[in-house]
Amino acid sequence: MRRNAEFRHGCDDLIESATPLRFARRPLLRAAVFGRHDGTYRGLWDPPAALSALTGHVLDVSPHIIVLHTAGGEQRLTLSSRTTAWRGSAVPPAALRTGDLVVVRRRSNVADRIWAQAGRATGTILEADSGGLPVTRLLVDEGPAKGRRIVEIGEGPLRQIQVRFPRLEPGYLIDVIGLRHDGYLQALTPATSQPPYRAGHPPAPPLVSGHISVPVSGTAVWHEPGEEPPGLLGLAYPALDPETNCERATAPIEPYVVDPHAAGTGCVRLPYLSVGSTVRVRNECADRSAVLPVTSCGASSRLFCDRCVQCGTSLRGRIADLTMTAFVELGGNLEDGCFNATLTMAA
């Protein structure tokens, strides 16, 4: 018994683990305990196919057709007169370049909206350098999983960003959306308002008695693919079980570096789940919902305690950090940064 008390089977991370089969079998195993007795098969949960969101690299753009290279091969989509594209700002679809990573919202085979090279930097500012240069450069720490990022803010966007992020100094949080370049992010719009507290010290959540009232309401945001497959439909869940997932609450050595696992439970109390669990995320603004698997740890969402104002004011706190494809699939616009969301547990 004593040797089993130290059970540690490694990081629950779909990307790191060499046996992702383990995660796919969990619904079967759960059904073995709680399933029905009449012998009907409640098998592996079938992941949702992205109906309206398509992710890939641009192979060719012509006035009426765009050709993408996706995980499922080559795909051609028709461009209509109503198709709009975003590449930092609203651009005509012809301005897309070969090799751009794009997310397309389509209706059957016609592209509706295209986002190219969308990037986002969410985390703690480690260094800020604006001495004399027309461009402000920040070094942003996005958490232990994603590492560090260089963010450059030009003069024009700087004013707009400083309205909502007045403190561009080390130790404070930042969340900006912009254009991805090789090695840095060109920040263009702020994604939210800057929290008044320092990174790593979010306000304490209210006490919850009884059971958590599901559905949980809050904000849903998106993150860049990083090392995930670009077309992955899933979310990074902020409250993974600390005992069996990677919770590294070691004291940081460098100043201003914040370990989100040590920052507490964050602003919203979410039930503990594991990688592979399925949740139903509902976009209150677009009235769409989907059942998505938890694919990674979204602990950095716990540092923020913001509201989304896309359609009315949501409750405080980030409840889901979706992949880009999942965000667009649920009807969100990447340049908005968030939508009001509701989360329920899907067995």
Binding site: A5, H37, Y41, L59, I150, V208, P271, S277
Partner: protein, 349 residues
């Protein structure tokens, strides 16, 4: 006789009034030091001096920190000063100065709370640190007014001395108790303390180490029933969903390799346990979403594409993440015929 009675009554009444005024000094000292300690505790835990104190939000950004520090220092020194000058040491001018400063502090507090209520109705006063997060109401303002009056009443009280008789000691104690009762009635923090004392977390939010789960499992009836079929008592998978934690062991049942899965409820004592058995050969193909990037076919990125998100290391040097381990050849996407053999059943407690 009547003259003597009036004289005695007058003296007793005067004594009672003086006693009531004298009692304010320790009460005020305790409140000031307690409030300062609670605020310091919150500042330490939030790593920010001006974090929870409501009234500092009314000042411009640059002044908030100095005002918060001034408040901490003022409360601390006035509390200590009141305690020190209560006796014969420092009686006279120093005592009067400190008590006047205390009265001034509470008067400023009344004004600050009033302004805070108007400008930021949702902000808490932060008077007692974490406990004072609720919006400023009439109770908090009344308490501040009462404390200001108490400080004013304490000015000019002669040096405190030990009570002369048992009855006087009882009177003093009763006065202190009555004052604390009145203050508690006016303090929303008392309700907050009661809530925190009686709080128990729902099981979805409870953190419980895996060792406790395994101990509960080994003491349960399903474990005793299925223990003999287990190949190994080391679990091959442990995960949690909400209030249940699942533990999976490899097993051998009727000469077939099976997986025995136990579900343990997350309760500290007498946790219910449920069990199930699964034949691992019977499954559909693995959903593609659970495979990492290099398992996808045609993974070659077309020429000219932006390089994948290169993570810069410290100080800007680009560090490419280490190459992934190749997948074992057996873990591919493969279809399994729909007619499968599978036996499972569920067992209750």
């Amino acid at each position: 006789m009547s003259v003597a009675a009036v004289h005695l009554f007058g003296e007793a009444g005067g004594n009672a009034l003086t006693a009531a005024r004298a009692v304010q000094i320790p009460v005020l000292a305790v409140l000031l030091l307690g409030g300062c300690a609670a605020k310091v505790r919150r500042a330490v835990s939030a790593n920010s001096v001006e974090a929870g104190i409501g009234p500092t939000a009314m000042f411009p950004l640059g002044l908030r920190r100095p005002m918060a520090v001034a408040l901490f220092a003022g409360e601390f020194f006035l509390g200590v000063g009141l305690a020190v000058t209560a006796g014969r040491f420092g009686a006279g001018l120093p005592a009067m100065a400190i008590r006047s400063a205390t009265a001034l502090l509470f008067a400023m507090a009344v004004g600050a709370l009033h302004v805070l209520r108007g400008r930021r109705p949702a902000a808490g006063c932060g008077c007692f640190g974490d406990l004072s997060d609720m919006p400023v109401g009439w109770r908090t303002m009344a308490r501040a007014v009462l404390l200001c009056a108490a400080a004013v009443a304490a000015i000019g009280v002669p040096a405190l001395h030990k009570p002369a008789s048992a009855t006087q000691a009882l009177v003093v104690l009763a006065a202190v108790a009555a004052e604390f009762l009145v203050l508690a009635a006016l303090s929303p923090e008392v309700g907050e303390i009661m809530v925190r004392l009686g709080y128990s977390e729902p099981c979805e939010l409870r953190r419980l180490p895996v060792s406790r789960t395994l101990a509960a499992l080994r003491a349960s009836a399903p474990w005793r029933r299925y223990r003999h079929y287990l190949v190994s008592t080391d679990p091959i998978d442990v995960w949690r969903e909400g209030c249940w934690r699942y533990v999976v062991f490899p097993g051998l049942l009727a000469s077939r390799r099976v997986e025995v899965v136990f579900a343990v409820y997350l309760k500290p004592r007498r946790a219910p346990v449920r069990a199930g058995v699964l034949d691992p050969t019977a499954e559909k193909h693995v959903p593609a979403v659970f495979l990492p990037a290099h398992a996808f076919p045609a993974a070659a990125v077309p020429p000219g594409a932006a390089s994948p998100n290169v993570v810069p290391g410290a100080r800007g040097d680009t560090a490419v993440p280490p190459p992934r381990r190749p997948l074992p050849a057996t873990l591919q996407v493969f279809p399994v015929p729909r007619t499968f053999r599978r036996r499972w059943h569920s067992a209750d407690l």
